[in-house]
Structure formats: C-alpha cells, structure tokens
C-alpha cells in the first residue's frame, strides 16, 4: 500500500468516525421533516421553503433549542409528484419523525396528508393552497398560507371590478392547484357579471401554445387569467408576444418567481400576480431579513416566511404544551395563537389560518415586483 492510499484510507476512517459522532449527537434532537421539491420543474419553490425552514431551525437552536433539545431539519424531496410524496410520507413514518413542514404542491400534499393523519404526524404546509386539503376532516393538518378560495376571489374581484375586460379567457394546467384556482376565479368574475369567452386546460409540460394563442387573438381576448405554474405561463407570455398578441396576463403565486422572467424575458413585464403580502417588507421582520441577506439568500419569496412560521409554530407548541406528542400538539395549536414572521396567527378548527391576505403585484421583466394600488 503506498502512502497516498494509506492516507486516503485514514481520511476515510476518520470521516466515518466523525459521521458516527454526528449520529450519536443527533439522538437527543427533535426531528422535523421538511418535505417539498428539491428537484423537478418547480424546485425554485422548494428552495424558498427549505430556506425559510432551515433558518427557523438554526435560529431556534441558536437560542438553546426547544426544552433543551436541538431541532434537526430532515430534507425530503417529493419533486411535487403525488406518487413520490406518498413514498416520502412513508419514509417519514418509518423514520418515526413526528413533525412535517410541507408538502409544497397541493397535488402532492393531499395524498401525503392522509398518511400523516392515520399515523398521528403533525403536518403544517407552508404552500399548498387547494381548499380540499383542509376539507377532509383531518385533525393533524394545518397550513400557514391562504387558500385558493381566498386567492381566487382576490384575483376575480380585481378583474371584474378594476380591469373589466370585454373579453376574458381563463386557462389552467389541469392540476389540482391550477384548475382549482381557475375555477374560483371563474366563479368570482361570473358573480361580477363577466362571462369568460374561454375556459380551457393546457397540458403540464406543454411547450407549444401557438394554436391556443392564435385562437385567443382571433377571439379578441383582452385579458387572460392563468391558473398554474411558471414554466407553462412563461412560454405562453413569450409566444404571445412573438405572435403580436398583446393581451394582459394574470396568475396566482405559483407563477411569481424569478424564473418566469428568465423564460419570458421582456414579455413578463406587466404580468399581474396574486401573492401573499411581502412579509419581508414588514418592519417587525427586519432582523430576520438581515439574517437571510447575510447568508446571501432572498427572503422575498412567497413561501420563505410561511415555512419559517411552520417550524416556529411546532417549536412554540412543544414549549407551550410541554409535550412532544404530536396529537396533543395539534390540539394545542388549534387552541392557541402564535407570533410569527407572517404575523400573529391562529387556526380554524379545520387547520386553515383564521386570517390571511393576498395582494396583487405587477411583475417586471427584471424579476422584481411592485404592489398594485
């Protein structure tokens, strides 16, 4: 054996010993699974969630942890796939993790939530907005974000009350999140006296929208609401501009991230987006924002603060209820209120927030946004 391989071997042995040390140390920790997409087409949102949740874990640990124990974030990737989400939920069950902050996409949150309910695991989603998730009568499921039946009407009222387009089209991606929100928007605008000339679904992953755009152009559509995520809307915007179809688009928070500008470029200028209020602009969060900035992270993403709040609520509940039992914690969370970066939060019986506000922003080509007055 030559010197190089010997030293490599000793380094490897050292690494193994070190990692064993890590395991031994981890035994006294409270594990929180952070479940969301770290891969796949919507991993950007997963980043926001992971960033917020990790920051909460770090800051809570820096203040001495929870009842003398440190928190430990366990990152789980569901790629926003319903099937993979169930596999992830099973892993969480098998690893005997009691608390979950996730999942992110409504389509993957719903199937996973059933397992958590059955196994008595506390779940707080910082991002899944489909109303159905909290309508299953579950006791273990909470969310630190609003729902589509709040977001849809916000968008719908703005369209019917302020924009008043003569011809409105509503499109969606046929997924639980996108179609759900598109239907809410349709309901609200119809109540406001506007009947959409078009209500259609596109395919997730579709790249060619030219036929649809030609049809809307011919119909003289002036305004389009798109329920879905940014990859499809980005291409829609880009191909619309290319065909010389200059209708205005609006979308939910699923389209509001910098990738929409990377895909659509100048065509993303003037897009309207409903997003949770920008919690990073709240003066009460100045210290937290500074902590994110110090790590070169962007705290303005819509799911960063809700994810932070999710971890914090679990930690506060463990402290307040003086138990680590997830079922008792769920009761405690339902009965109490918590001071978090998204404001003072309290929950309804079904696990939804009592109050949550969506705000309309104008998106710019440089991926910044300004609130609409």
């Amino acid at each position: 054996m030559n010197t190089f391989s010997r030293s490599a071997l000793s380094a490897a042995v050292g690494a193994v010993i070190l990692s064993l040390g890590g395991l031994a140390q981890a035994q006294g920790t409270l594990k929180i699974a952070i479940a969301g997409p770290t891969t796949g087409p919507v991993a950007q949102y997963g980043d926001m969630q992971m960033m917020g949740a990790k920051m909460a874990v770090e800051q809570i640990n820096a203040k001495g942890g929870v009842n003398g124990k440190k928190l430990e974030a366990v990152i789980m990737d569901d790629a926003c796939e319903p099937k993979q989400a169930v596999a992830v939920a099973n892993q969480i069950v098998n690893q005997k993790i009691k608390y979950v902050v996730g999942h992110l996409c409504s389509g993957s949150t719903q199937p996973a939530s059933k397992l958590y309910e059955d196994e008595g695991i506390l779940m707080i989603t910082p991002a899944a907005t489909n109303p159905a998730i909290t309508q299953q009568g579950y006791k273990m499921v909470f969310r630190t974000i609003g729902t589509d039946d709040q977001q849809g009407p916000t968008a719908g009222k703005y369209i019917a009350g302020t924009i008043k387009p003569k011809k409105l089209a509503i499109l969606h991606d046929k997924q639980q999140y996108g179609e759900g929100i598109a239907k809410e928007v349709r309901k609200t605008v119809e109540a406001g006296g506007i009947k959409p000339v078009l209500f259609e679904g596109v395919n997730k992953g579709q790249t060619d929208f030219s036929a649809l755009i030609t049809k809307m152009k011919k119909e003289g559509v002036e305004f389009i609401y798109y329920g879905g995520y940014h990859p499809e809307l980005g291409l829609l915007l880009r191909q619309s501009k290319e065909q010389g179809f200059d209708a205005k688009y609006m979308g939910p928070e699923g389209v509001g991230n910098k990738d929409i500008s990377a895909i659509a470029g100048p065509a993303s200028e003037g897009l309207l987006v409903t997003l949770p209020a920008d919690f990073s602009a709240d003066p009460a969060n100045a210290d937290l924002v500074a902590a994110f900035k110090a790590k070169n992270q962007d705290p303005t993403g819509p799911f960063v603060m809700p994810a932070y709040a999710g971890v914090q609520i679990i930690a506060d509940a463990i402290k307040g209820a003086k138990t680590e039992d997830a079922v008792k914690l769920a009761d405690y969370i339902r009965k109490n209120s918590f001071d978090t970066p998204i404001g003072k939060v309290a929950f309804k019986e079904n696990g939804d927030l009592k109050e949550f506000e969506f705000v309309i922003f104008t998106w710019h080509a440089d991926a910044t946004k300004t609130p609409v007055k």
Binding site: T39, G40, P41, A43, Q44, A79, L171, K174, E200, G201, V202, N203, G205, T207, D208, S210, A211, L212, T214, K215, K217, K218, E219, P231, G234, L235, R238, E242, Q243, G244, D259, A262, I263, G265
Partner: protein
Amino acid sequence: MSGFSLLEFIQQIINGLTLGSIYALIAIGYTMVYGIIGMINFAHGEIYMIGAYVGLLVITALGLFGVDSISAILLATLALSILVTGSYGWTVERLAYRPLRGSPRLVPLISAIGVSIFLQNYVQLGQGARDVSMQPVLTGGWRFGPEGDFQVYLSYMQVLIAVVTVAFMTGLTLFIGRSRMGRACRACSEDRAMANLLGIDTDRVIAVTFVLGAALAAVAGVLVSMYYGLVNPFIGFMAGLKAFTAAVLGGIGSIPGAMLGGVVLGLAESFASAYLQTEYKDVVAFGLLIGVLLVRPTGLLGRPDVEKV
C-alpha cells in the same frame, strides 16, 4: 366561437406545420431503426433531449463570446449537437443493442428502456432537474392581412424550422437513395440475413442507422431550444411518444411515412386546439392514430408485409 376566419385557418396551418416538422425529424429516427432491425429504439426521445441541451448550451456559450450572426450560430450549434448526439446514438446501439443481437425481441426492448431511464437521470444529475431557459436568438417575422384586424404572423424562426427540416429531409432522402451506404441500408431493411451473406457489414449499417436517427433528433433538439427556449431532462418522454405516434401513423419503417405522419400529427393538434378545446389536442392526436390503424393497420404509407411489435 365567433365564426370561421380564413386568416386564422392559415395561421393554424403555419402553427401545425412548425410543430409537425419537429415531430417528423424525431419520428425518422424511430422509423429508420425499425425499418432495419425491426425494433423500437425507446432511448430515442432521450437522444433528442440531449440534442436540445447541447443546442442550448452551445447557443448560450456563443452568445457569451459575442457571436451574433444567426447563420454562424445555427451552423456551429447544429454541427456540435449532431456530433455529440450522434456519438450517443452510436453508444446506445453498441451497448444496448449489439450485445443482444439474436436474443428474443423483448430483451433489447427492455435494455433500450433502461438506457432511456439512465440518460434521463444522467442529464438530471449533470445539468440539474430544473428548467433551463434561454432568450430567443432570432425574433421578428412577417405579418399578412389587413391592418388592425387579425393578421397572419409568420416568424423568421418558423421559416427557419421549415427550411432546416426540408434541407435535412432532402439530404437524408438523397443519402438513402443515392449513396453506397444508403443502398446497404435499404438492402438490410429488405432482408438483413441475405444482405449479410452478400457481403454487407450489417453491424456497421445498423450503427450508421442509429447515428443518422440521432443526428436528426439533434436537429429537432436544436430547433426546439431556439424556438421555445426551455428545456429540462424530461422533455424527451412526451416528444418521443408523439414522434413514435407520428412514425406509426405514417407507417413505421417508411421514411416518407414518418415525415407525413409528423406533419399530420402537428396539424391535428393545432386544429384540435383551435376548433375544439386545447385539452383535447392529445386526445385528438392519439385518437387519430387509433382511427388510422383501424382502417390501415400498416399506417398511411407503410408496407403491408412489415411485422408489428
């Protein structure tokens, strides 16, 4: 729907032909491999995806070096992409097909699916699972029709796609019809064992077939990254499925059939979007396939004696 408009109809034909050209380019890879070894290359969609990635990377790199002549970009990108994907095509054949020559038909089918999964994950690990996007390199186009009313729009990029597709199709047809290698390909497609007895190196012909198919998939990939500007490691699956449909529709094993199948499929999707609902476009596309196969089991231009999987 407010009436029929001829201008809109023309625009939908343009949309459909653009989409159809891309399908046709990928479909040729399926049909050529099937024509010669009687098997479907399920890794072909992934080869196309790699072509799209190489296209996007090269165009972005050329942009960094300040190259802005569109013909220089196109030539360099096509050349590099064909080179890279061609070698992938050759490798796929060498690793997943040649060692299994003479084994039951299902075995290479499964090894090809394995390669497909491998390539998808390999690109996902190497390039990340996220969408990679790029701003258009060629913008603008011509407008026809009355000012202020609906105008037909034909973009330079759509013309470029049509021109490049026709050029490569013509090249391929000449190669198959006139060259020595092309004659060997046709001989293998007629009867591989006999061609072998007559002194044709069939292994080499099969390798060339895979490389040619991959090269055309690369052309499709480059055009797609220039036109849509968005790629991710998963685009190969759906594109492969659509192109395979186009190949079967046109008559698998027949090269003109693949071209026709691609165009028919593109037009069908475009019209389904235009005159029905967008959500029905795949239903119409695959429904058309079933319909054609019921009436003509060998596809539009297929020969009746070709055996089906």
